[in-house]
């Protein structure tokens, strides 16, 4: 399943990514939570927290018309009442063993946080990994478990770009109030920054030792099992090659339980200086690094026998026996 055009919308692996000429982000219920620069928020039954333009896709994969009703392919849903306006025409969606299903008007058996009903006929589970029918069969699987689509470049089957489209990142969970609460690694805070003038125990010559802490989109640290792995990408842009590309992970404790990890930067004895770009990523996102000006996601570094600069900064102090070596 690739990119499909469904009416005026563009979908990728079953998920809407473009509506009314705006790139959109949907949550795990299929509700549009971002459309262009606009953010949309809903109460659990789909009422909008703030009024916005109608006649477009909004809650639970539905098209909301100018009267505020949601079109669910087979019938209309009223988010202000939290129920369909007509009975469920799909006979098989009723089950003798499930009294909730005998009432033919309610929306998703009154569980709008965990279920959705795109056709207006039978609800399906919305979990982090896939959309599942009540019988447990998988209706839709994302490209990777627990991921959602974000705007980026889309490539066709031949590997050629077919336009700005989507990339994947973790699905946001939805709280009982319908708001996204997924914490995503977004930034790195500098915990300490020092240098060994004569190398560490595995580098040669001047070595800058920076300890970072991973923060989420609200600037809060992660703890324990929620700490993501951080992947480094280093591209040498001039001079001798700078070796990089490590992964810090909880599995081997190279990220500690509070999400801190240490990066060693060195020219490794090369007499000729080098320049390189460095990117640190987690959860598929390039992390903003709070060092120097601008909190960039791509650091422009220089490496020489006497110093290492990171985004224009030099290390403020020599390391001591209280720093890792």
């Amino acid at each position: 399943m690739g990119i499909e055009r469904v009416g005026a919308n563009l979908c990728y692996t079953g998920r809407m990514i473009k509506s009314n000429n705006n790139w959109v982000v949907t949550d795990r219920l299929g509700s549009v939570v971002r459309s262009g620069a606009e953010t949309l928020r809903y109460f659990p039954w789909g009422e909008e927290r703030l009024t916005s333009t109608q006649n477009r896709d909004k809650f639970g994969t539905y098209f909301r018309d100018s009267t505020g009703l949601d079109y669910a392919l087979n019938r209309y849903y009223s988010s202000s009442h939290g129920r369909f306006l007509t009975p469920d025409p799909y006979v098989a969606s009723a089950s003798l063993t499930n009294p909730q299903s005998w009432n033919r008007y309610p929306y998703v058996e009154n569980d709008p946080v965990n279920k959705l009903d795109p056709p207006g006929l039978a609800w399906i589970w919305a979990n982090f990994d896939s959309l599942m029918a009540p019988d447990g069969s998988v209706v839709w699987s994302p490209p990777a478990a627990g991921y959602m689509i974000w705007p980026a470049t889309i490539y066709g089957p031949e590997g050629t770009p077919v336009g700005v489209g989507s990339s994947v990142s973790p699905l946001p969970p939805i709280d009982s109030d319908g708001a996204d609460r997924r914490r995503i690694a977004a930034a790195l805070r500098v915990v300490s920054d020092c240098y060994w003038g004569d190398g560490s125990q595995y580098t040669v010559g001047y070595t800058r030792v920076i300890t970072y802490q991973v923060l989420d989109q609200d600037g809060k640290p992660f703890y324990g099992s929620e700490v993501p792995a951080v992947t480094e990408s280093v591209v040498t842009t001039s001079g001798p090659t700078i070796v990089g590309g490590g992964v810090w992970s909880r599995a081997e404790n190279t990220i500690d339980p509070s999400g801190r990890f240490t990066d060693y930067l060195s020219a490794n004895g090369n007499a000729q200086p080098s320049t390189a770009t460095q990117t640190l990523s987690a959860d598929g996102n390039a992390l903003r690094v709070n060092i120097g000006a601008g909190s960039p996601t791509v650091l422009n570094n220089t490496y020489s026998t006497s110093t290492v600069t990171v985004n224009g900064t030099t290390s403020p102090r020599p390391c001591t026996d209280k720093d890792p070596r």
Binding site: Y202, V243, T254, N268, D323
Partner: protein
């Protein structure tokens, strides 16, 4: 330079004569924070390494992960490991040798230690055991030990982990000035909090902010605010 390879299983009793067919143990490099070293080390013990001596030079043919490709040789060293108290895990059996590898010759374990003064010194070592040997949790990228300027009485009734954590949060046990203590505050504080838990840790950190040094106050308050969303005042 004479290079030789020493069999790990033949290290005791060690003989470097005719060592051509022998091998060194794995050189372990892991970038670990102090908290990561605490978590990774099977044992953390109070003691010291004495009678340090070079063991041999190893040629690096395949560069391990994380390691600079410029490093072609590492220097193995050994010493007598004497530990009297276990903070975490158990004490190694008496008489085991401490073996580690360094990228520079000299076997100087205490090279970067601050100058000695009249204060007593206690060192807590992050160790693992391999056969008949005691080794650092990682040869490179981590901490071999932390130094406290305080006595450690082996017979104390205080829980050793709580004692270790409290020392990490005691300025006089870690540094010569509050300003220096502030510089490395977060590393020690996060490790102490990992051990003590949030409530006790916050109780111990709050008074540090009131000691009168503005840098320490900033470090302590920032730590409480960012890590625990707590203020410096009750």
């Amino acid at each position: 330079m004479r290079l030789c390879r020493v069999a790990w299983f033949l290290l005791a009793p060690l003989s470097l004569g005719g060592c051509a067919e022998r091998q060194f143990p794995e050189w372990r490099v892991l970038p670990l924070t102090l908290e990561g070293a605490w978590e990774s080390a099977p044992a953390v013990v109070i003691g010291d390494v004495r009678s340090v001596a070079p063991l041999g030079v190893q040629e690096i043919k395949v560069t391990p992960r994380f390691v600079s490709p410029s490093i072609k040789h590492i220097y193995w060293c050994e010493g007598e490991f004497r530990a009297h108290s276990a903070v975490k895990g158990r004490l190694p059996r008496t008489g085991k040798k401490y073996i580690w590898a360094s990228v520079r010759p000299g076997c100087d374990l205490y090279r970067y230690a601050p100058p000695r003064d009249e204060r007593p010194i206690t060192r807590a070592w992050f160790i693992r055991e391999e056969g008949d040997y005691v080794r650092p949790v990682a040869d490179g990228g981590s901490f071999y030990f932390v130094t406290f300027y305080a006595n450690w009485e082996p017979s104390s009734d205080i829980d050793p982990q709580a004692r270790f954590a409290r020392l990490l949060l005691t300025p006089s046990a870690r540094d010569t000035s509050l300003r220096d203590f502030a510089t490395g505050f977060e590393s020690g504080a996060s490790t102490a909090c990992f051990i003590l838990g949030r409530e006790r840790c916050v109780e111990l950190i709050r008074p540090l902010a009131a000691l009168g040094d503005p840098e320490l106050r900033r470090a302590a308050c920032d730590f409480l605010r960012l890590q625990y969303q707590e203020g410096c005042a009750r």
